[in-house]
Symmetry: C2
Subunit: 462 residues, 2 copies
């Protein structure tokens, strides 16, 4: 295994160029205009898995975008690692805030990344992190270092709810049989502070529509006399949080997991500077639920955020109109034990109940998923911890993430195995934002660390 570093040095330019080619394709699953690009990306993943040494690779059709499945079975008696990742990306807008086009990758040095970072949509989330596994497999097969069986399941609908992946997993339990699931779709605390994500938040994503009059109206002739759907929508949304920023939906907190003081104290040990956090975001103050720290607010507490709102005249200049309709996209991040479908129902009935008679309200659930917590005493966690220790020279810190990978809890339910979240991204990578990037150092460090996980996991399973 000592050859991994030299292998990376010899091939690093190729590793970079292959990822750059992958990043040039706008595989935006949320926008049907990019359908062909998403499909083309699946084909490229298939080829890359074949080149990396998989014995069998197939593109599995679904009702949505296909899932790329690949495997290399060296010995049925050895353990099997199932790698999950996704080849679709978030929409890139607002485009005008990108310093370079989102699908024309460029390498640039930054303060955090003196060796350079690749700037492109999907660089970190998740093409870059997913491709680390492909290259790690390449190393292991080409150098006869693969100690166990490996399966890949790379989907194209993660950014829109993984609806069809759930069906695929349920229908292919045997094919996907494994001893541990390995995912790199999260981050670590810092380049010199490796961490393993032990918790994820669930998600419920809905769209609301408020309809007032049946047509846009002149705000002078009707203003004050009819319900303005935008005014009403803002009032309705505003009431979803109280003055302490608690969410007011009845029953919302019923199943929220409450951490003990000692657990919270343990969390508080993770290195964190509120000043640099505020400085990085250029904000004068943080904002959130009373009684919790910033790191608690974005990990162990549920949230309700408006992700988009629109209605009326939003063009240049002024238009004195009362719109007929107003819309908002609202997502709730959930913590373990909150059931996303139940929360979606609670939201729907509450939101409908607070609408005045003067408007009509429609709530459309988009998608969602359960939260997840993984134990730190599992073989998988221990193997990951040893792998990081090997390549970072430090024991990684277990960390709850605020993000969601809804499918993880389904994996446990359907495949009955634990998921290990080995993330190599950084909070500053701007995933889901303009100028998303992924440090070259992080990319190569991931490729270097992953084979060690295979080694230790196989040894510990014996």
């Amino acid at each position: 295994m000592q050859t991994i570093q030299s292998y990376i040095n010899e091939n690093k330019d190729r590793f970079l160029n292959e990822l750059i080619e992958l990043l040039k394709i706008p595989s935006i699953s949320a926008d049907s205009a990019y359908k062909n690009d998403v499909l083309k990306t699946a084909e490229i993943i298939k080829t890359s898995l074949e080149n990396a040494g998989c014995d069998h690779v197939e593109i599995c059709e679904t009702d949505g975008y296909p899932i790329v499945y690949g495997e290399k079975i060296i010995n049925k008696d050895l353990p099997t690692v199932l790698v999950y990742g996704h080849y679709d990306v978030q929409p890139p807008d607002p485009l005008d805030l990108w310093n370079s086009p989102p699908f024309e990758p460029v390498i640039q040095k930054t303060e955090l990344h003196p060796d350079g970072a690749i700037f492109a949509r999907g660089a970190c989330d998740d093409k870059g992190q997913m491709y680390m596994h492909v290259k790690a497999l390449e190393y292991m097969t080409k150098n006869d270092e693969l100690p166990c069986n490996v399966k890949f399941m790379i989907e194209g609908e993660e950014e829109v709810g993984s609806e069809n992946l759930g069906i695929f997993v349920t229908n292919n339990r045997e094919k996907l049989e494994n001893d541990v699931i390995l995912i790199s779709d999260t981050g670590m605390i810092a380049k010199d502070v490796p961490s393993i994500t032990t918790g994820l938040r669930g998600l419920s994503y809905v769209e609301v529509e408020v309809t007032g009059p049946n047509r846009d109206l002149h705000s002078g002739l009707y203003g004050g006399a009819v319900a303005n759907p935008i005014n009403v929508l803002t009032k309705m949304i505003a009431t979803l949080h109280d003055d302490n920023n608690h969410i007011t939906i009845p029953g919302f907190y019923d199943n929220v997991e409450h951490l003990s003081e000692s657990e919270r104290a343990e969390m508080a040990k993770a290195p964190f500077s509120l000043d640099s956090y505020k400085k990085a975001l250029d904000i004068d103050a943080v904002y959130g639920e009373k009684g919790y720290t910033t790191n608690e607010r974005n990990s162990i507490r549920p949230t309700l955020d408006v992700n988009g709102i629109w209605g009326g005249y939003i063009g240049e200049g002024a238009k004195t109109v009362i719109a007929s309709k107003a819309y908002a996209k609202i997502s709730m991040r959930l913590v373990p034990h909150q059931d996303w479908e139940e929360i979606t129902e609670l939201f729907k009935s509450h939101f409908e109940s607070i609408a005045p008679d003067a408007v009509k309200v429609k709530v459309t659930p988009h998608h969602g998923g359960q939260g997840y917590v993984t134990p730190i005493d599992s073989i998988g966690y221990k193997a990951a911890s040893k792998a990081y220790e090997q390549t970072f020279g430090k024991v990684p810190i277990p960390q709850r993430s605020g993000g969601s990978i809804p499918i993880v809890s389904l994996f446990e339910k359907e495949l009955n195995s634990k998921t290990i979240l080995m993330g190599f991204g950084l909070d500053s990578d701007a995933i889901h934002s303009p100028n998303e990037h992924f440090g070259i150092w992080n990319y190569l460090k991931g490729i270097e660390t992953i084979p060690w996980f295979y080694k230790y996991f196989t040894e510990l399973k014996k």
Copy 2:
């Protein structure tokens, strides 16, 4: 004057076709992309005034769009009528709600308009109503029926605040000298219920911008820990009305004119059916300030309406993002004695004061204008009343309008003369909305009624 009806019958097709040509030009003053169309429209107005018999017509340049000035002075000792109107139109969006393209006029019969109505942006507001005056002048000059002097002042920035018209009026007091100002840019109660608008609301139009973090953020990693500018904006807007729908801006109502019970009783006499009002708008209930009727809410009471709101991801599908910025366009309709600049200041300082530390707020005033009330015992009002009685066979009802023509109060201040608002539109004309239209009957009735105003005004002035 009995010849007016036969003149209209002989020329009505031409009257319609000339208006239709005018409506084909998208003179959208709010959107600079249409600059050339707005300028082209001014040229056409100039020509139409020359053809109608003006001795002198000129296009007066301003810092914005030009003002078309025309005059026919028959005798310095006779009274002078100044006609005001505008050749710019509101933006047509939302385009998908139009049944026919907004700038491809079509004539269609409706329940209210068995003789047909012209559907196009600007059909009523104000190209159609302004052009009635041009055709009325044509009749009077061609048939030697013009009893007094006439001046036309047609601007191209009414829909964006008439900023440069104010400067023009102030700098051309002598040129614009007149005995009465005549405007058709309002409506009447019904085709069989003629009315004259005696009051207009003022306007203050602002745009607000709320900035949270310096870039869009992943709602999972940051959700709950930083201020979401959309959530904050909705909370801020929501607090601008209390539970009784009173506006909460300190000092907002200080100068509001309070009508006596008898005045309110007089207003209540105007024919109005709440059921048909609700049916026409397809709403189950009206909505507004507690303690006032629908007709009071949209005429004698000030309002605050969000005319547009936007922020975050508003495309297809879902994006789990916390936006960096959120925006809203907000307009306040004001009643007589409320000073629009003072109200704009009150709004600005209040809105900034209620922003939490976690965001930055910018308030940009767009434009505004004062409200207006005209007495019903003036010669101008009496002449208008007799003109309607002549052509409708009924005495018109004085009516307060909720709309704003900010320039009217400036006319009185600078030109020291009263404005008479002879509107021939209907509430159902959908001005500022998709499918704006103007009844052919209303258009021709206006052309028929206007010359009678000239006749009676000149007689009453003697």
